[in-house]
Symmetry: C2
Subunit: 401 residues, 2 copies
């Protein structure tokens, strides 16, 4: 008898028929002789509806009250799913985040899980019940409800799987697994049987919206084997784990992220500590800097070029301009019409041909490369946003075909 944690997102429980679809998947897993813990998100548009309710009251809600409000979304879906399971003859019980033992820090709206007291979940499992747990939420040490922020339900599921020493954590989504590229854009994209945690992390951070990064990091840390699979099409999905079998294919995927802006600071004095001055300003405002490129300009000067998330571009520009005198007073510009396209695959660095093969594919399409960044398992380029879809198709053709 295995213990399996199954996570279903908001779309998977958005209405009556989808809830019963989930109930049948859970029932099949249970009837195959497994213990099952289910983690669910809020139904479809519930979270947006709740945010709209708050927006009617205030433009600046307290994050504590916002978490109190939003946590009702999952509480609704867990009770409905438990009812559906009972309706089809499966013994089930729903638990909120705090009932399931999620203890978090005090950071409302983006809380981190500090501890998971699994006593209640284990006692319900011992009573032969399917346990339906509210994802995305917990309780801080003041007994106040917190939420885990974006992708929080994935994180809840992985944390439960780790704490319960589950045999597998299945993340059900609208896609059938992890693909070599976005299958809606690249018809030739193929589903991967397996992928490593690190490859998945790179793909996720590069804009492949399959799994939340925090959940993959947590799975890697605790060695929780993940499976990404479809809640609609009952076929095996993609396994995410530490080591994968050699599959012949070096490149695991091509990803596009057009949520980037490129900021350039020209004529920065070429003295020690200058980069720190720039990037600490951004870090204080919680702005993540991704690719950084530093080029030498005139004598004693350099240019600093880097990417930030598109949504942070304006506030980054504001703070940089305010302090422009601290780094030379030169021109500061932002380019919001760009995209990051990346290839991901373990062991890439030992195959020097990958980069040139990628650049050849882009050159063949007359696509200009603004920036290049490489790591052990990925190569990213910044190009014009208008070229991004053509770039993904050309690179996919070149590597995966």
């Amino acid at each position: 008898m295995a213990l399996i944690v199954q996570k279903f997102g908001g779309t998977s429980v958005k209405d009556r028929s989808r809830i019963f679809n989930v109930a049948r998947i859970v029932a099949n897993t249970r009837n195959a002789g497994n213990e099952v813990v289910v983690v669910v998100s809020a139904q479809g548009d519930t979270t947006d509806d709740l945010i709209a309710k708050a927006a009617e009251i205030t433009g600046n809600p307290s994050s504590r009250e916002m978490d109190m409000l939003l946590a009702t979304g999952e509480q609704i879906s867990i009770s409905l799913l438990a009812m559906a399971l009972q309706e089809i003859g499966v013994s089930a019980v729903s638990l909120t985040g705090w009932q399931a033992g999620f203890v978090t820090d005090r950071a409302y709206s983006r809380a981190r899980i500090k501890r998971l007291d699994t006593e209640r979940v284990e006692s319900e499992l011992a009573r032969n019940r399917v346990v339906v747990v509210a994802g995305f939420q917990g309780l801080n040490r003041s007994d106040d409800i917190t939420t885990l922020g974006r992708g929080g339900s994935d994180t809840s599921a992985v944390a439960l799987a780790a704490a319960l020493h589950a045999d597998r954590c299945q993340i059900f989504t609208d896609v059938e697994g992890v693909y070599t590229a976005d299958p809606r854009k690249i018809p030739k994209a193929t589903r991967l049987k397996e992928i490593t945690f690190d490859e998945m992390l790179e793909l996720a951070s590069l804009g492949a919206q399959v799994l939340n990064n925090r959940s993959v990091e947590l799975a890697k840390k605790y060695g929780v084997e993940l499976e990404v699979l479809s809640s609609i099409n009952p076929i095996p999905g993609t396994i995410v784990k530490e080591e994968t079998k050699v599959e012949g294919m070096l490149i695991k995927g091509v990803a596009k992220d057009d949520n980037v802006a490129v900021i350039s600071i020209l004529g920065v004095p070429d003295v020690p500590g200058m980069s720190f001055k720039v990037f600490s300003l951004l870090a204080q405002r919680n702005i993540n800097v991704d690719i950084i490129l530093q080029s030498s300009g005139d004598a004693g000067k350099k240019d600093l070029i880097f990417t930030v998330p598109l949504g942070d571009a304006e506030s980054a520009m504001a703070v940089l301009k305010e302090h422009r005198n601290r780094f030379g007073g030169g021109e500061i510009t932002v380019n919001k019409d760009c995209a990051k396209v990346s290839v991901v695959g373990a062991g890439m660095q030992s195959h020097p041909g990958v980069a040139s093969h990628m650049f050849e594919a882009l050159g063949g399409q007359n696509i200009n490369i603004h920036m290049i960044s490489t790591s052990e398992i990925k190569i990213s380029v910044i190009i014009d946003k208008a070229d991004a879809d053509r770039a993904v198709a050309a690179i996919h053709d070149a590597f995966i075909q």
Copy 2:
């Protein structure tokens, strides 16, 4: 500095403008130098919407899961009201039922409050915050969410007022207080300045939908002074307390309840224990029997006539017919076209003229009386439903006008 508990129902917080209306009432009370604890119900139709969601899943939801679902309604309204209070500059914090310390028994959907741990509420008050508490809900000893059933938010408010030794518990409603009759039907109806707990209990149980009976019983038990007042019109309402000043008026109100059915069992053997057989069958099914009339029929037989809530009439008839042989096998009939009309006032029994004056008023309108029931503070008659409104008007004219 007084401590005041204020309770607002679902209509009072149904949308943005009503929420801010409530926030201003609370702010005024706070700014007048009082400590304020606010108890709110779920917004407008939220509870009905949640019940409809459950009904899509199953015709027979588990009451535990139903309470888990319904408790989200108040959690939404407390967070929105706390946001509105903060928006107008009032320091506030919302607490769910379990955070506010409501410990109940295990009876889902109609739980009774066993204990109230006020530590958290008191510590928030000590931090100069308005405390916004979710009514209608609590937690049982298994750490599962329960709801208190119909009128539960009134009960929550009174229980909090009792436990906190509040100076007053204000119940805000859509009416401006307790009236001598339904003011929508009887234009001459007048608002009472004061009424005793017992009078209020009789009026509530007789269909005057102002205050829930459980909350009045609780207020009487713990000596909590209640005030029923309007959330729209800021005028003093009706005070409900143990002793009222002599006001000259003996009759405090005329109430109508057309949610009744009269059941007749004819030819019941006139032997000891027969009534118990009948009424224990109904009690086992949680059907409340109100007025009971027993008349002698043929030799050795009697007729048993009694009222039940209209909604329970069918199930009462089913169980009685199933066991008809246990009480004589005679005819069992139900009349659903009737109503109960009552006059309420303390000390009525020492004024024998009240009953005859009431019957005179009904006779003057040619209204036939089917059943009569009297207590220390009320006289009720069962009449045809079609006559009910005329009966209320005639009695009100006779006694109060």
